[in-house]
């Protein structure tokens, strides 16, 4: 009897620490039920995007075909350069502009575009000054390009200076 008691005690202790991830090759007294994994039934669905492209996917929805009216092909967020999606009013005859000139108030006032304003004084100035400005512009463009190259080459290089940038 004196021989068996310590053995029993050790079995009890190993059963208690069974949650650890390390593999303990000792007797486990309990039995764990192996539950069959439950999976919802899935159908194959054909998805038609707004531009007519289709693809299939597995889904719980029983509808065999899904036609989308609004998706990545025709939303502005995914197509920022698309002029078709850009919400610009069609004002070929200038009637809307005329209306604004007449009745426009604060946000609706018919103000000239900022780019045009900036351009007009530069044209009036003498040739010498404009040459200098052109040179300065070229230098700025060159600098910007260098910055872009730096950005490309230094991607992911400046990580891990010891602390998180997020916490700053």
């Amino acid at each position: 009897m004196s021989l068996t008691t310590p053995l029993r005690r050790s079995a009890a202790t190993t059963a208690r620490v069974s949650t650890s991830t390390t593999f303990i090759c000792s007797q486990c007294r309990h039995a764990t039920l192996l539950r069959r994994p439950k999976r919802p039934y899935t159908f194959t669905q054909l998805i038609t995007l707004s531009d007519g492209s289709t693809f299939t996917q597995r889904t719980t929805s029983p509808a065999p075909v899904y036609r989308s009216t609004r998706d990545t092909r025709n939303s502005l967020l995914w197509n920022p350069s698309s002029s078709k999606l850009l919400n610009i009013e069609d004002d070929e005859a200038g009637r809307l502009a005329a209306f604004r000139a007449k009745f426009g108030r604060s946000w609706d006032a018919n103000t000239p575009v900022e780019g045009e304003e900036a351009k007009t004084p530069t044209d009036k100035k003498d040739g010498k000054q404009s040459e200098e400005e052109a040179a300065a512009e070229a230098a700025a463009a060159q600098e910007e390009e260098d910055n872009l190259l730096d950005l490309i080459s230094s991607f992911g290089q400046d990580e891990h200076d010891g602390r998180s940038g997020k916490k700053k």
């Binding site: 486990c28 007294r29 039995a31 069959r36 996917q57 889904t59 992911g156 990580e159």
Partner: protein, 356 residues
């Protein structure tokens, strides 16, 4: 006790070995057969032998050999063959590593834990393999001229200066400014291109504790519908006094963890169909992420209702009970910057200040 018993049996069986047997020991050369075969001449029996051997090439092809065509037989069979009489059934319980009857591993089709699949090649995966992976590899390429040696970085864990005798055998100190050791970003090469590892959909339903469990059931069904996988429920770990939530008592949240095929289908559906339909949405905030490559964003209840699975039978869900959810995209990228690069290539828009 057991030892004494075995010794008793041993004592009883031992003398048997030493008792001399009655039969004579040694080789037995005597023939016991009683026929006359040995006395007959061998020439008489030769007539019974076949003249051509079975292994010779010129051996006659019998009718059975000519008609033997197992492929045609199998093709012409109308019904399935009966299965073999013995079929292995996995034990219902896992009784530990020392039990003689062990269940097979979950990858075995006879295991109770076996999940078959994948059954399809998702579009997102095809896009990733064909274009996104190579694009990321190109974008993350850093050219080092020949002979370039990267500058030595100091060790991340600092040593103690031995100014005090108590510094001896101390474990190393953590980095300055905090104990957190962030993940190391290795240069991205062909074998560690970031990819989506898993997606977690999590929904905290406070009304499940305040009102009734119906909220939790509806949230579970909605999350299951959009994710193609079963959900788990969780009890609250923290107490929220204003909502009357007690840790360990109230089951308040629902989680689905998606991997593999389910994950890719969910991701594609979310990006292609749901996100463009969200009203007044700029994208995912650039400051989201846990700074180790996992990006989280939230969907409001009205956005969750935009999923085609919920839309197709919208009447099934009580409109007020459709949950919002948090979606965490776990990527194998080590930094948020890389993860954002991957996700924006896969179609998730980001806005605002990008924080790493």
């Amino acid at each position: 006790m057991a030892a004494s018993e075995s010794s008793r049996y041993l004592a009883r069986s031992l003398p048997r070995a030493f008792v001399p047997s009655v039969r004579p020991q040694g080789f037995c050369v005597r023939r016991n057969a009683s026929d006359q075969a040995s006395s007959r001449s061998p020439a008489v029996d030769l007539g019974e032998l076949e003249s051509t051997g079975a292994l010779l090439p010129g051996a006659s092809e019998s009718e059975a050999v000519k008609s033997f065509d197992p492929a045609a037989l199998a093709k012409g069979r109308k019904k399935q063959l009966p299965r073999s009489r013995y079929q292995f059934r996995s034990p219902k319980y896992d009784r530990g590593p020392l039990h003689p009857h062990r269940p097979p591993p979950p990858s075995d089709p006879s295991s109770r834990l076996y999940v078959p699949g994948p059954f399809s090649l998702p579009r997102v995966d095809q896009t990733y393999q064909s274009s996104v992976a190579s694009d990321i590899l190109t974008l993350c390429y850093v050219h080092n001229p020949p002979g370039f040696k990267p500058p030595q970085k100091s060790a991340r864990l600092r040593t103690w200066d031995d100014s005090s005798p108590y510094h001896k055998n101390r474990p190393l100190r953590g980095p300055r400014g905090g104990d957190v050791l962030r993940l190391l970003r290795k240069p991205i090469t062909f074998n560690n291109i970031p990819k989506i590892e898993r997606i977690t959909i999590h929904s905290y339903v406070k009304q499940a504790a305040q009102e009734n469990s119906g909220w939790l059931h509806v949230a579970g069904m909605a999350v299951q519908a959009i994710s193609n996988s079963r959900v788990e429920t969780f009890k609250s770990k923290t107490s929220v006094a204003t909502w009357g939530i007690v840790p360990g008592r109230d089951t308040v949240s629902v989680k689905a963890e998606l991997r593999g095929e389910n994950m890719l289908h969910f991701f594609g559906k979310m990006v292609d169909i749901v996100m463009p339909r969200i009203k007044d949405w700029d994208g995912v905030k650039g400051s989201s992420g846990d700074s180790s490559g996992n990006i989280t964003f939230g969907l409001e209840p009205e956005n969750v209702a935009l999923f085609p699975e919920i839309e197709v039978n919208y009447d099934m869900y009580p409109p007020k009970m459709i949950p919002g959810c948090h979606i965490t995209i776990h990527t194998t990228a080590k930094t948020d910057k890389d993860a954002r690069l991957l996700l924006s290539a896969m179609g998730i828009p980001f806005y605002g200040k990008m924080v790493n």
